[in-house]
């Protein structure tokens, strides 16, 4: 059974907004930068509470990142948030050169992750941001699983991290089930469910779907371990190696292209440290489309039933090897 209770659906972008506000209350140096769409990415809470520490720069993401780098070099803690497609792709050069090369503490919030963005469609669904941000030296890459964890991850990203941080979150209200009293640990995966037959390593919204998939598998007599990989970089190597060694089969689950995202990061550890059969749930080198979030997750094979199906195939492969 699923040991977690959904406290009610809540958008992770709301969690980010709450974390940013809390960080702003704790540290006067926190400054937020808006590129329009501030209410849409949860920055409006901070902007209302601290109007003097909110800078509106318009739809000009490259300039937003450049300004953030300048503020960080002067000792401020700038947080810039917009949709992940704009932050990670349009401003990629400024993030690489002005932020990562200088290794300054700039926090970038990438909203609207994955196909669960829904009706806004392919242009607004961030599906490549993990790949691009992961490739940049000095970058810390966070991908929390629900609104509660996103709030704690935002606090940790803003107040504890050093250097560049990218934190990824979604649009649609989704199950909120983690314990608010567990502080976010950067670089540490958390085991959500015990199991010995295979491991589902999931990130973001899909951790919940992985937990549901584990229930489906349980009915088939397969115990699936579920790992919440809330930090993509630096990846928790020890946790990956332990899962590979103990369960001998790994399925990665992400609302992102399978090229260069969580799956690639995990595979990098598995092939070098403890090779075992793997399968990858995610976008298979294609764009998303417009539609209701849950229907899209099903269509692109990211819902619990699809995850369970892929896991079952991998388990049979493992047993026949």
């Amino acid at each position: 059974m699923n040991p977690y209770t959904n406290k009610g659906n809540k958008a992770t972008r709301t969690g980010f907004g709450e974390g940013l506000l809390a960080a702003g209350q704790l540290n006067d140096n926190v400054i937020a930068i808006g590129a329009d769409i501030t209410s849409s990415v949860g920055v409006d809470l901070f902007a209302s509470a601290f109007p003097d520490r909110f800078i509106s720069l318009g739809i000009a993401e490259q300039n937003c990142v450049a300004v953030a780098a300048g503020l960080a070099l002067e000792g401020k803690i700038p947080v810039f948030s917009t949709y992940g497609v704009f932050a990670a792709l349009r401003a990629a050069d400024q993030i690489r050169v002005s932020v990562c090369y200088n290794n300054v503490h700039v926090i970038i919030g990438g909203a609207h992750a994955g196909v669960s963005v829904g009706p806004d469609g392919a242009t607004h669904q961030a599906l490549e941001d993990l790949s691009i941000m992961q490739a940049l030296p000095n970058m810390t890459l966070l991908s929390p699983c629900d609104a509660t964890e996103t709030k704690n991850a935002a606090l940790a990203a803003i107040l504890q991290c050093r250097g560049p941080v990218y934190i990824r979150f979604g649009r649609e209200p989704m199950p909120d089930f983690t314990d608010p009293n567990i502080p976010f640990k950067i670089g540490k995966a958390s085991e959500m469910l015990k199991g010995d037959d295979l491991t589902l390593i999931a990130t973001g919204h899909l951790v919940w779907e992985a937990l549901l998939a584990a229930q489906i598998l349980e009915k088939q007599g397969i115990t699936a371990r579920v790992l919440n990989m809330s930090t993509i970089k630096p990846i928790d190597r020890e946790a990956v190696i332990r899962c590979a060694a103990e369960t001998r089969a790994i399925i990665t689950v992400e609302e992102h292209q399978i090229n260069g995202g969580l799956g690639s990061a995990v595979a990098g550890v598995v092939v070098t440290e403890c090779p075992v059969p793997m399968a990858f749930i995610g976008m298979k080198d294609q764009f998303g489309e417009s539609g209701p979030p849950l229907e899209l997750m099903k269509k692109f094979g990211m819902d619990a039933a699809s995850i369970a199906d892929t896991a079952l195939h991998l388990f049979r492969k493992k047993m026949s090897d």
């Binding site: 808006g34 329009d36 501030t38 849409s40 509106s56 720069l57 318009g58 739809i59 000009a60």
Partner: protein, 115 residues
């Protein structure tokens, strides 16, 4: 920049200048004015018209082109034109009317087209 450099005299851009974006009035979020001067400085032939007036728009597109420059038409519009409850209100950026609002809004639009 490239369009004027290469004398793209058959290129026409139309700016739907409704003055609002999702966070509020454009001039408050990040001002764009003087917009015509900005286009001019990039080598464009700038024309302005009432974007809701088809005759004006056609007239501008027909007669304001020249043989050396690309043309930009700054079409001044009101977002949600014809529905008083929506007109010019940035909070309607990307928002859909509810089923309850729809009949009244459609009536507003029909009335606008009658006059």
């Amino acid at each position: 920049m490239a369009a004027s450099h290469h004398h793209l005299d058959n290129l026409v851009a139309i700016v739907d200048r409704n003055g609002v974006q999702i966070d509020g009035p454009t001039e408050k979020v990040m001002h764009l004015e003087p917009l015509a001067d900005k286009w001019k400085s990039f080598g464009w032939n700038v024309a302005e018209c009432d974007g809701h007036n088809r005759e004006q728009l056609i007239e501008t597109l027909k007669h304001r082109r020249n043989a050396t420059q690309p043309l930009v038409v700054l079409a001044h519009t009101i977002m949600g034109k014809g529905i008083p409850a929506i007109e010019g209100d940035y909070r309607w950026h990307g928002k859909v009317p509810s089923r309850e609002q729809l009949p009244g809004f459609l009536k507003d639009l029909r009335n606008m087209h009658k006059t």
